[in-house]
């Protein structure tokens, strides 16, 4: 993530999985699904996992506002301090801010992330959220589910399920980072 990629398509080292339009349509669908499942936005809040999840949560929030004409509370969660590999890594990952400007207790929280892979990030996010309060319910929305779960975690809202090989690198690109919106498998 954060890879600077200003090349026009077709890009030589990528296999495109989803283009910008498809991403937008998928996010619209997920927004509707969230509203449908939760019967509106009463008691609902979105929490994006840094970094990609935050952009997606912001986009979903905009769509929900357009549909419901009301703002849904939006937070940003940095899971670094909850990672399960801190004690074995040699370089400490950069810590960024967790900004959740509301009390999460008794809310229905929709965690938003870009790619669901091993499930370890979500495990860390769940622990991080739990330290902040006691939500009524936590749901999970992801843009891409690429399989290879190492923990018993499943998303409630999935943009696209994509079979991948374990060693492949799935990357989501964001306009917010100066890139063309898309999802691609990077080939070495």
């Amino acid at each position: 993530m954060g890879r600077d990629d200003m090349n026009p398509s077709p890009r030589p080292h990528e296999r495109l999985l989803m283009d910008g339009q498809e991403m937008a349509r998928t996010l619209t669908r997920i927004s509707h699904e969230i509203l449908e499942r939760n019967k509106g936005i009463e008691g609902l809040a979105l929490v994006g996992i840094r970094t990609g999840g935050v952009f997606l949560a912001q986009r979903i929030a905009v769509r929900i506002q357009q549909i419901e004409k009301r703002d849904v509370p939006l937070g940003e969660l940095d899971i670094t301090l909850y990672r399960d590999d801190l004690s074995i890594r040699k370089d400490q990952p950069e810590i960024r801010k967790t900004t959740i400007p509301f009390h999460i207790s008794d809310l229905k929280i929709v965690l938003v992330d870009d790619v669901l892979f091993t499930g370890r990030t979500i495990r860390a996010a769940l622990d991080g959220l739990m330290d902040l309060g006691r939500p009524a319910e936590i749901q999970l929305a992801v843009l891409v589910d690429r399989g290879h779960r190492q923990l018993p975690i499943r998303a409630n809202y999935v943009g696209k399920s994509i079979p991948t090989a374990r060693e492949e690198n799935v990357q989501v690109f964001f306009e917010e980072l100066g890139q063309d919106d898309r999802v691609a498998i990077l080939t070495p």
Binding site: D78, T80, L81, Y82, L86, S87, I88, R89, K90, D91, Q92, E94, I95, R96, K97, T98, T99, D127, G128, D131, L132, G133
Partner: protein, 313 residues
């Protein structure tokens, strides 16, 4: 990017970028202190040992709280409670502590260079919590953090350090940190308390407090060590207070939005008048709060680099 180092011994050895990284990390971690549950699991299973050869409740407590907020286990060692006997060297003591699988040793010692000496001898990360008159890097980092928080920047600010510069590790570390970050640093003290060649560290030296205060953005007061009185550095406490006490009248010489800092504990009526210490310009308690965040940041950033953790892999 990381700190890429095992120990934090001096500000002298840090680059401006490394100082920034510590500050940014501390800023992210400050949020943890505002939660209902003020604890994150980042250093779960790690052991932090506070090895304090000089009494210091404040600094030790701050490190202890920082370690606990990161879920580390904390042990406090001080010469009175440990089995330190005369003849055992610091390194002997520290090796014993290291053998207890300490990941981080926080050292306060009266000898300059003690932390560096220790860091060379053990694989654990070492954080210098004050070595003689030499350095007190975490105090400088929390001061810089507080200045940045209140002023939005450090570069270009006029900052004056008031008091016994020669015998102050806080002054030394602050001079180094603030000049690295581009502040204009002044010091003011009786000439008996200015060390040889200080001007070569890029500071402007004053002997008159009123002159030094003009146009300042930040005032850092140092604690006057009363035991210095007997060493012919000062005629009397009374005269020092007359010449160097920060009073409301003197404060008017500084910029209107000046902030006043002090590493504590205060000598009210000696270096700082109570009405200044208790006024809104004093950010002394913010310093205490920020100290925990800065120390959390350091422990987090260093924790990947202790040689012990590589051995365990």
């Amino acid at each position: 990017m990381g700190l890429e180092r095992k120990d934090l011994l001096t500000i002298a050895a840090l680059s401006a970028d490394q100082i920034q990284l510590i500050l940014t990390t501390a800023e992210s971690l400050k949020e943890v202190g505002g939660r209902d549950i003020k604890k994150v699991p980042a250093l779960r299973g790690k052991t932090v040992v506070n090895l304090f050869f000089e009494p210091s409740t404040r600094t030790r407590t701050s490190f202890e709280l920082a370690a606990k907020r990161l879920s580390a286990d904390v042990i406090n060692f001080s010469p009175s409670s440990s089995s330190m006997v005369k003849g055992e060297t610091l390194v002997d003591t520290a090796r014993n502590i290291e053998a207890m699988q300490a990941d981080i040793i926080v050292l306060r010692h009266s000898s300059p260079g003690a932390a560096e000496n220790l860091a060379r001898s053990v694989g654990s990360s070492v954080i210098n919590a004050g070595d003689g008159w030499h350095e007190h890097p975490t105090q400088a980092l929390l001061d810089v953090f507080t200045i940045k928080e209140k002023k939005g920047r450090v570069s270009g600010l006029v900052i004056v350090i008031v008091g016994d510069i020669a015998h102050s590790r806080v002054a030394r570390s602050n001079i180094l940190a603030l000049t690295k970050l581009g502040a204009e640093v002044r010091v003011v003290a009786p000439p008996t308390m200015i060390p040889f060649g200080l001007e070569h560290l890029g500071v402007e030296i004053f002997y008159n407090l009123d002159e030094a205060l003009i146009n300042t953005d930040v005032i850092i007061m140092l604690r006057l060590q009363r035991e210095r009185l007997g060493r012919t550095l000062l005629p009397s406490l009374r005269e020092y207070a007359k010449l160097f006490c920060l009073t409301p009248e003197r404060l008017k010489l500084a910029k209107p939005d000046v902030i006043v800092m002090h590493p504590g504990p205060l000598n009210r009526g000696v270096e700082i008048s109570p009405s200044v210490a208790d006024s809104p310009v004093a950010v002394i308690l913010d310093q205490v709060t920020n100290g925990v965040s800065v120390r959390m940041a350091l422990m987090y950033l260093l924790s990947g680099f202790s040689e012990r953790s590589t051995l365990n892999e």
